[in-house]
Symmetry: C2
Subunit: 465 residues, 2 copies
């Protein structure tokens, strides 16, 4: 038979089983965190009609789209979860209640240039709150709490949420009559961390033709350690600026009531997050020890979710986590907690009799008790079966030989206890009700395993000390 060399496309993440368990654990925790804040899960097709998906048109993204025809249909794979949300809300408007709070965790596709840590298929984990006509500022104030709770639940510790309000920059530009240079100026400001204040100021004056006075005022504001106070002093100069200051102050005022520690939060007036879309608060989240990674959770407030589909005004606020890239980074930085228990089962039953009724009955009893159980009935040597358990990090093995079957017992071996335990250590463990190996009546064996497994600590998937 002619064989094809199997391969997975470059730019497509495919995990080994132990890694997949960690990834899935992260997804489960995201779902849980998002649910705590009253978001409902949503799923939309990965394929959409091109004319619908690309209604907004143009832009860098369009080149990256996976677009193709099937029959007469011009189809595209979704490149984010925001456009499908806009479509969804437009179609199902009359069936939804607003504010509509949804989360969606799903794969999106971008045919980017293949590069280490860049993926063509990747998971995004998004939440959005969509208002019908209006949306209160409290929704913007709540987002940092969701970001904080989510990453903390994952086990991340050294991160900081940075926020800005687009009305502040836009108000300043209006104040100085710089609206037409807004894009140019923002791209320059964005380089502040990379090239420093002096160079940014030089570019603002030389290339963007800002007067020294204006560029000086801008740079003062962008460089101050207390932007909120500095902004308060600028009140009354421009109504948009005032509104931005008011909103930023509301968002920061409620932080502590929302449970966000001050050290996990910072106002950063340089954050813009694109030119067209966001209109109010914008968010970025950085790993303090890995600034090179960039923002791991970004988003903001927008005024028109679905203007390409409907005349209805649908303002919203949302954030997105690029989960596949985050997982890659965590793996790369050795920040994944492999100690969380990635074994596919809790108990491996090793029958040693020809008739398997007793072993099978025990597997049924264990499963009914909620214990993940595998029967190992392959024709392999006993040693090979234990090596299998070891390789998969299965915590317990149960032996059922002639003696056990005859006496309705089971022998439970704790595979997590090392070979080199001293007798004293073993005795101390026994006093705690933990045995390296113990033979018990079948029902007691089930109860013993249940108790031992319940004692295990639930650890987060990220190790960040």
């Amino acid at each position: 038979m002619e064989r094809i060399k199997p391969r997975t496309l470059s730019g497509f993440m495919e995990l080994l089983p132990q890694e997949q368990v960690l990834f899935d654990r992260m997804v489960a925790l995201l779902r849980e965190s998002y649910s705590l804040y009253g978001f409902t899960p949503l799923d939309t097709p990965a394929i959409e009609a091109s004319e619908v998906l690309l209604a907004k048109g143009g832009g860098e993204t369009e080149k990256q789209i996976y677009r193709f025809t099937k029959g007469d249909s011009d189809l595209s794979l979704r490149f984010d979860l925001t456009v499908p949300l806009a479509k969804y809300v437009s179609i199902h408007y009359s069936d939804l209640s607003f504010p509509f709070r949804r989360f969606q965790i799903g794969k999106v596709y971008r045919g980017e240039r293949a590069q280490r840590g860049r993926f063509r298929e990747f998971y995004q984990a998004d939440i959005d709150v969509i208002g019908d006509g209006k949306l209160d500022i409290i929704n913007e104030a709540e987002i940092p709490a969701i970001i904080y709770q989510t990453f903390t639940a994952l086990g991340l510790n050294r991160f900081q949420i940075r926020i800005n309000n687009r009305k502040i920059l836009n108000g300043l530009f209006a104040l100085y009559g710089l609206e037409e240079k807004a894009g140019e100026i923002m791209r320059t400001i964005d380089k502040l961390e990379k090239i420093g204040a002096e160079k940014v100021r030089a570019i603002l004056e030389e290339e963007c033709s800002l007067s020294p006075s204006v560029s000086g005022q801008l740079m003062d504001l962008l460089s101050t350690s207390d932007p909120v106070t500095a902004l308060e002093e600028r009140k009354g100069e421009n109504s948009l600026l005032d509104q931005g200051i008011e909103e930023l102050s509301t968002v920061t005022r409620y932080l502590s009531a929302f449970g966000v520690p001050a050290d996990h939060f910072m106002v950063d007036l340089t954050i813009a997050r694109g030119l067209d879309y966001y209109t109010g608060t914008v968010y970025e989240t950085v790993m303090l020890d890995h600034p090179e990674v960039g923002s791991i959770c970004s988003g903001g407030r927008y005024d028109n979710l679905a203007e390409y589909y409907t005349e209805k005004q649908l303002p919203g606020v949302g954030i997105s986590i690029g989960l596949t890239r985050l997982f890659f980074v965590l793996q790369d930085q050795k920040m994944l907690n492999s100690g969380i228990g990635t074994a596919p089962a809790d108990v491996l039953i090793l029958p040693m009799t020809e008739d398997l009724t007793a072993a099978i009955s025990l597997s049924t009893a264990l499963r009914q008790a909620g214990i993940r159980t595998q029967l190992h009935c392959e024709q392999k040597k006993f040693k090979q079966k234990l090596a299998y358990a070891d390789k998969l990090s299965l915590p317990f093995a149960v032996f059922l030989g002639e003696d056990e079957v005859r006496s309705h017992t089971a022998t439970v071996k704790d595979l997590t206890m090392g070979q080199d335990l001293t007798e004293e250590a073993l005795a101390a463990l026994n006093e705690q009700g933990r045995y390296k190996q113990i033979t018990l009546p079948v029902e007691e064996a089930v109860a013993y395993l249940h108790r031992r497994l319940a004692e295990r600590e639930t650890l987060p998937p990220i190790l960040d000390l």
Copy 2:
């Protein structure tokens, strides 16, 4: 602005929020059931190189493939989860431990003709056990237990698992020298339920040219109410037949130890499940009250998972649930349990003061207690907010007015209690610690809500009485 009419492609399922919660609950229960049997989760890309995905080539499926080019690459969307598994096991062979037990729940794509209840994008929920060279028959005997446990967990009751062993039919064909007519005969046998024994026998004799004696023996076997006993009498005539009888008898013998009630199981010698792939036990699962739906969970034993990629012999056994179609059928038959609580939050906080600190702090405390909470701070009338809670079926509302904030209390309203409760009924509920409305110190309010929410019954997503 020119607007595009938003639409979702036909053949693509897109659910409303309440439906999505039910769908997700089904997925969660499948994951849980599969995990109880020691299967590890897996995820593979939706896009594969066409040459890899279509290595097997030909067949009905190939026409349905979503195939396209991006740059120089000839790509295809996966049409099932089995070919990606074969690819995965071939690539990662040396990193895996065998038997390798994996489950995968993911979207697959088939450009079928649009038709009610047919989907072009649909979820499959698969499990497979892959052996390295050999795989014990016990793995085949365990599958009915997994099917039984899985559907029971979902809430389905009136279903039956039907099994056969391909070696029996193949052995009989060998015995009668009918190997070359196997396909034709099996297609005919498959019509037994539809057209009846008499017509099947006529076709077997007239079109397949079977002698009356052979067709009579075949029909006797296929029509008997006790095929296992009938088969035992046929032992010794052909070694393949003997092996099939032996395997079928092993699978049925251990059923009760595996916890499968006899009435949920049946041997059905007419089941073939395609010609090429399966070599041993094959499974179908039917809804007893809805035979028109066909099999809702099918699969079987195969000898060569990945012969197109590797010379390694990788036998396996697996089953697949077409989840999207199943969901459609359940919805169509009104068998989805909308009573399971599809609300996006447990508590809606309605602040009635300008300063929101108290309301926000309460939301934080509730979320820390694991209670799904939404703050409703929109500028709407009180009545509109209650209508919102009602429309989303939120079970509890919490009011925080001036009085409550001043006295550090919260007023909890149970929205599940109807307006028309008599005073007696209300008094009886109060005696159980359940109040239509009660004002409590904040901490007690959190504890009260926690207790009330914990009391709720966990119901399965399928209603099958």
